[in-house]
């Protein structure tokens, strides 16, 4: 139980990403029936709105977790969660633009 609480930010991060991607795909499938001109802004709104809400939820979960658990393993896991959170930034390394 304690280890689950320690890993809570990481688990919440994974769940939020899965929910957000799932919601966006559903929004795309539904709005696509009305045509691409409708699909395009709706998908972006759902995604960006969801991103902000997910960010707020995650911040709250992390804050609560930090208050409740100051153990060494908890800190280590939160540091790992921060790295996981920053992992999309690794895409920057993949660029290979044409001359």
């Amino acid at each position: 139980m304690r280890s689950l609480r320690t890993a809570q930010p990481l688990l919440v991060l994974i769940a939020l990403v899965a929910i957000l991607v799932g919601l966006t795909v559903i929004a795309r499938e539904i709005s696509a029936r009305a045509g691409f001109l409708v699909e395009r802004p709706i998908v972006l709104l759902v995604w960006l709105g969801g991103l902000l809400i997910a960010g707020a939820v995650f911040a709250w979960v992390v804050r609560r977790s930090m208050r409740r658990d100051a153990s060494r393993s908890g800190l280590l896991l939160r540091a790992l969660t921060a790295l996981a959170l920053a992992s999309p930034l690794a895409l920057i390394l993949l660029q290979h633009p044409a001359p």
């Binding site: 100051a70 895409l91 920057i92 001359p99």
Partner: protein
Amino acid sequence: MLVKRAVAGLMILAGVLTLGYVGISSYIAEELVYEAPKAIVKTPASLGLRFADITFPSRGDRINLKGWLIPGVLPDGRLTADRVIVVVHGTRTNRESPGDHLLELTAALARHGFGVLSFDMRGMGESPPAPLSMGTLEQRDVLGAVDFLRNAPPPFPELGRPRIIGGLGISMGAATMLLAASQEPAIAAVVSDSAYAEVVPLLEREIAKRSIAPIGRVPGGFAPGALVMARLLYGVDFFAARPVAGVARIAPRPLLLIHGTADDYVPMANFRQLDSAATSVPGAHVTTWIVPNARHAQAFKKTGTEYVTRVVAFFDAALGAAA
């Protein structure tokens, strides 16, 4: 306490940077997959040619595309649809494509006895709005054009169905034609003018030239993120727009690759990559024409008659004489 603060700082930094990166990348992706369609001003009639307005579905996803079928004109003035060339325009334009004089090229082919099917790819011209995918989805439009020629009631019933089909594309149209021809043997010969070998490096360079209102010029690092977000948000896989991966499958069908030496949008390296891949298999039948000082997709505009002579000679040899 210090470690706790450091971890908290790391978490805040990671959250802010990731939110910013993903948010801005998503916005760029949304811009990348859409271009307002351009209206068609001139028709083949303005060049003295008969034509029929046609509508046909793309293969697989059945998007109804708009186009023209222009019968070829034989030397004695009779019309023919014996040999039909599917002509594919470039990105952010339409089947008229005044920037590269595509309608004039289309008319020149028709006057040399080739029927022409010219159409607006999805999201462009008069075809319905759709995401721009630089060939990944649009190849279905070319395949739909082939299906139309082979199976739909002919727009000119007296001319019958085409005996043989060729393909000509310019820029993104060329890349799209290569993608389609690599999987459709009914396209008996292909002219590819200014095609890219793969689109991602070009998009990465172009994204870095863009400017977004609050942040100004987009740093190049956002480009991979935008391409991934285009896949996630709109299902547009720019990474699959790689004609170089399939061009060898066009063999033994004849392929003419054209490229301008002054092309600064699709650098000559793309031409070399495509040529190398296309000729890498036994039985490949590849002809190349490097046009000195021609900028991107400007070979016809620059060389005019010579372009038509070379393309007509290529199709005559590949498709046989008109009946």
